[in-house]
C-alpha cells in the first residue's frame, strides 16, 4: 500500500499559495488552517459538520473543513475568507454583509460568506425561499438570517444589473 506511515505528505494550494508538509493523517483541514497556518478567519463552531462556521471552498466547491482530513485532498485548491479580497478591497459579498447588517457577533460570518459565494456560482438564487434552503448548512445563533439573505439578494441584483448592462 502507499503511504502507510505516521506522517503523510500533504500538498495544497491555499489562497493561491503552495503548501507542503508531512502531517499526521488525523489533522483536519480546519485544524491545519487555524492551528498550523494561522488562518483563523475560518471558525471552529461545532466541529461536527452541523454549523457551517468552518465552510471553505475546495476546488471551488463549498465544504465543511472540520470533516476533511488535510492529507486526503492532494493538490486541491483551498480558498478561505482570507483569500477573497481583491487588491486590498473587500469582496463584494463581504461589503454586502456589512451594508445589510448581516451579522451580530460575527462568528458564523466567514462561513456564511464563503457559502454565499459558492451559492452564487451554483445558481440556487431564483427566489428568497431557494436562497434560504441552500444556505441551510450555515447556522447563525444571533438570528441574522434576514440580513444574510438581503446581502445575497443584493449581490444577485447587482449581477443581474451588470448582465443587463452588458446585453444593452
Amino acid at each position: 500500500m502507499t503511504h502507510v506511515s505516521v506522517a503523510v505528505p500533504c500538498r495544497l494550494q491555499i489562497n493561491g499559495q503552495g503548501y507542503a508538509a508531512d502531517l499526521p493523517p488525523s489533522v483536519t483541514l480546519l485544524d491545519l488552517l487555524r492551528e498550523r497556518l494561522g488562518l483563523i478567519g475560518t471558525k471552529k463552531g461545532c466541529d461536527h459538520g452541523q454549523c457551517g462556521a468552518c465552510t471553505v471552498l475546495v476546488d471551488g466547491k463549498r465544504v465543511k473543513s472540520c470533516l476533511i482530513l488535510a492529507v486526503s485532498i492532494p493538490d486541491a485548491a483551498v480558498m478561505t475568507i482570507e483569500g477573497i479580497s481583491q487588491n486590498g478591497r473587500l469582496h463584494p459579498m463581504q461589503q454586502a454583509f456589512i451594508d445589510t447588517d448581516a451579522f451580530q457577533c460575527g462568528y458564523c460570518t466567514p462561513g456564511q460568506i464563503m457559502s454565499a459565494i459558492a451559492l452564487l456560482e451554483e445558481g440556487h438564487i431564483h427566489s428568497r425561499a431557494e436562497i434560504r434552503e441552500f444556505m441551510s448548512g450555515n447556522l447563525c445563533r444571533c438570528g441574522a438570517y434576514n440580513g444574510i439573505i438581503d446581502a445575497i439578494e443584493r449581490i444577485v441584483a447587482q449581477q443581474r444589473g451588470n448582465h443587463a448592462g452588458e446585453a444593452a
Binding site: S26, S72, P74, S115, G137
Partner: protein, 335 residues
C-alpha cells in the same frame, strides 16, 4: 481523534484487504464525525477517493449506473438523474446541507450509520456500537427511534433520504471484495438488527460498494419524496415516503413505495405495493396501503406519534404521486 495509519490506493484490489480494524474513507461526512466522537476507532483508514468509481453512465436496459464516489450534489444535479430519476434527485436534495452534499458520496450514503443519540455517546449502552452492552435507547429519550423492524437489542433508525428513493426505484448495489464481484438489491442491502445490530448491512470485510444501478423508472410525473421533520431544512426525517406510480388510463398499473424515518432499514412491504396494482387512486385504497405498510409497528416510550403520523404522510404522498404534483424541496409547502 485517535491516531491511525492512512493509505490511498489507486487500484480496487489493493483497497480490498479486509481487516476488521480498517475503515474506508470517501466523503468522510459520517466517518470523520464518528471518529471524533470516538464511536469509530479504526487502526487504519483506506482513502478510496483515488479509485475509478466516479461516473454516471447509461445502462443498456435504459437504466443508469451511479458510481459510488460521485458526490450526492453532483448526482442530484446530473442531467440524466434530473431527467429520468427526479424522485432520486428530490430525495437527495431533501437531505443534509449543500456543503455536506458536496462532500458525501453515493456509496457513503448507503453505508452511513444511525444518528441514534445513544449510539453516538460512548458512555451509553449500545449493542450497535459495543455488542452485548444493551440498548439505552429502549425506555430512553427515543422519539426519533424506529417503530418498524426493531428488536430487543436495537431500535435505531436508518437515517438516509437517498436510500429511501433507491428502495422505491428498486436499485441494485454493486460490490467488489476479496471474493470478487456480486450484486445485491438495495432492498436486501441493509439488515434488520435482530440480535446482531452491529452489522448494519450485508457488506463483508474488505468489500466495497462500487456502483448503484437504477432500472428504468416509468413513472413520468407520478412520483414524490415527502419528508416530515422537526425543522424544514437540514434535519433527519421523522417520517418520509418515496413513491413512484406507473399510471395508465387513470389506473395505477404498478406502484412502488418505501418509508424512511420509521424503520431500522429502508422500509418496503411488497404486499402493500401489490394492493395498488390495477386500481384507480382512492382514499380507501391508500388507507389500506398505509395500514399494510405500518403493520407490526411497535412504539417505545416516546415515538408512538410516528405510528399515528406515518399513515397520513403515506396517503398524502400517494395522492401527490397519483395526480403528478411531486413535493417541492425548495418551497416546503405540502400540497
Amino acid at each position: 481523534m485517535r491516531s491511525f495509519s492512512y493509505s490511498r490506493p489507486s487500484a480496487l484490489d489493493e483497497a480490498c484487504q479486509g481487516a476488521e480494524s480498517v475503515r474506508f474513507l470517501a466523503g468522510g461526512t459520517n466517518l470523520i464525525d464518528l471518529m471524533k466522537s470516538d464511536v469509530e476507532r479504526p487502526a487504519h483508514v483506506v482513502d478510496i477517493k483515488s479509485l475509478p468509481m466516479r461516473d454516471i453512465t447509461d445502462r443498456p436496459d435504459g437504466g443508469l449506473r451511479l458510481g459510488a464516489l460521485v458526490t450526492n450534489a453532483d448526482t442530484a444535479a446530473h442531467p440524466l438523474v434530473t431527467g429520468r430519476y427526479p424522485l432520486l434527485a428530490s430525495a437527495i436534495l431533501a437531505g443534509a446541507s449543500p456543503q455536506i452534499r458536496n462532500m458525501a458520496t453515493n456509496g457513503g450514503n448507503l453505508n452511513q450509520r444511525t444518528r441514534c443519540h445513544y449510539f453516538y455517546d460512548p458512555a451509553m449502552a449500545c449493542n450497535k456500537r459495543s455488542p452485548g452492552t444493551g440498548c439505552a435507547a429502549r425506555g430512553g429519550r427515543n422519539r426519533i427511534m424506529a417503530v418498524l423492524g426493531t428488536s430487543d437489542a436495537c431500535i435505531a433508525t436508518f437515517p438516509s433520504d437517498m436510500c429511501i428513493a433507491l428502495a422505491a426505484l428498486n436499485a441494485t448495489v454493486n460490490l467488489h471484495g476479496p471474493q470478487g464481484e456480486r450484486t445485491v438489491s438495495v432492498r436486501d442491502y441493509h439488515r434488520l438488527p435482530g440480535d446482531t445490530p452491529w452489522r448494519d448491512n450485508v457488506l463483508q470485510p474488505g468489500e466495497i460498494v462500487t456502483a448503484i444501478d437504477l432500472p428504468p423508472a416509468p413513472f413520468g410525473p407520478h412520483h414524490t419524496y415527502l419528508k416530515i421533520r422537526d425543522r424544514q431544512s437540514f434535519a433527519f426525517a421523522i417520517v418520509s415516503v418515496a413513491v413512484g406510480l406507473q399510471m395508465e388510463d387513470g389506473r395505477i398499473r404498478r406502484g412502488s413505495i418505501a418509508l424512511g424515518g420509521v424503520g431500522t432499514k429502508p422500509w418496503c412491504v411488497p404486499e402493500a405495493e401489490a394492493l395498488l396494482n390495477g386500481q384507480p387512486p382512492s382514499h380507501s385504497l391508500f388507507r389500506d396501503v398505509a395500514e399494510r405498510l405500518l403493520h407490526g409497528a411497535v412504539a417505545d416510550r416516546d415515538n408512538a406519534a410516528k405510528i399515528r403520523l406515518a399513515p397520513r404522510v403515506i396517503e398524502r404522498a400517494l395522492w401527490q404521486a397519483a395526480v403528478g404534483t411531486p413535493q417541492s424541496q425548495t418551497d416546503k409547502a405540502i400540497r
